[in-house]
Amino acid sequence: MASRGHPNRLGIWGWVGGGSWGFERYLYTLHRLTGLALLAYFTMHIFVTSTRALGPDSWKQAMDVVSGPLFTLGEFLVFAAFAFHAVNGIRLAIIELGYAVGKPIEPVYPYATSVGRQRRLASAVLMIAAVIAVWGGLDFFVLK
């Protein structure tokens, strides 16, 4: 969304530094990096899979081009990026809708923040994404 009156002075640098960020800041960075990677892959994926319309020979030719250990590793990285982006996306939607951030409380010392509540959700995101990525890894490298 366009910023109104609060220009982003840090630019891309703000993704990795520029302040004493919490752990969630790096999930934000990872969400963007995985998002860009998935978009780039998806654009190529449309062209590769469209060879279906050209018939079996074109399809098999395309599948031969994108096979081999390097492509398997690349596809696994896409799968892992998908796992993280999907699970973290659910977290973002939950937070956006106002859940899991705790109820508003009086600002009395020692000040409590909602970070402690959100942190559990962030940790759960990483664990669930890791489990899905490992499951995918089994299919990509072990069971095949």
Partner: protein, 123 residues
């Protein structure tokens, strides 16, 4: 269109992708452990079978549209956060919209076309 509307669509598209891409990943990449569409979903016979299914054709086009919108709107957010000027913002809006619509048109054709149809024309 207002940013709030576009943002709401972005989240709604994310929910659609979560379901459809989740299915796609389970069928295509958890094929050994789940075997939902056989262990070889990339074999031509399997690809051709899905191509004749109305369910797969409809969900492919839905997923294509939702993913393109979600992806390109997300990319636009990243670019807009870098404070481009009004002219550049307009260029980004038009450029990404045209690119997204072109990819949607091409992908929809590929999803709807019967397998091998493009080489059969005139032959």
């Amino acid at each position: 269109m207002r940013d709030r509307t576009l943002w709401t669509w972005h989240i709604a598209a994310g929910a659609v992708i979560l379901i459809l891409l989740g299915m796609h990943m389970a069928i295509m990449h958890l094929n050994q452990s789940l075997g939902l569409f056989g262990p070889e979903p990339l074999a031509w016979e399997s690809v051709a079978e899905r191509a004749t299914s109305l369910f797969f054709t409809v969900t492919y086009v839905l997923l294509l549209g939702a993913a393109l919108y979600h992806g390109f709107y997300g990319f636009r957010n990243i670019l807009f956060e870098l404070n481009p000027g009004a002219g550049l913002r307009r260029t980004i809006d038009v450029g990404l919209s045209v690119l997204g619509l072109a990819l949607f048109a091409f992908g929809t054709w590929a999803a709807i076309a019967a397998p091998g149809a493009a080489t059969m024309v005139g032959g």
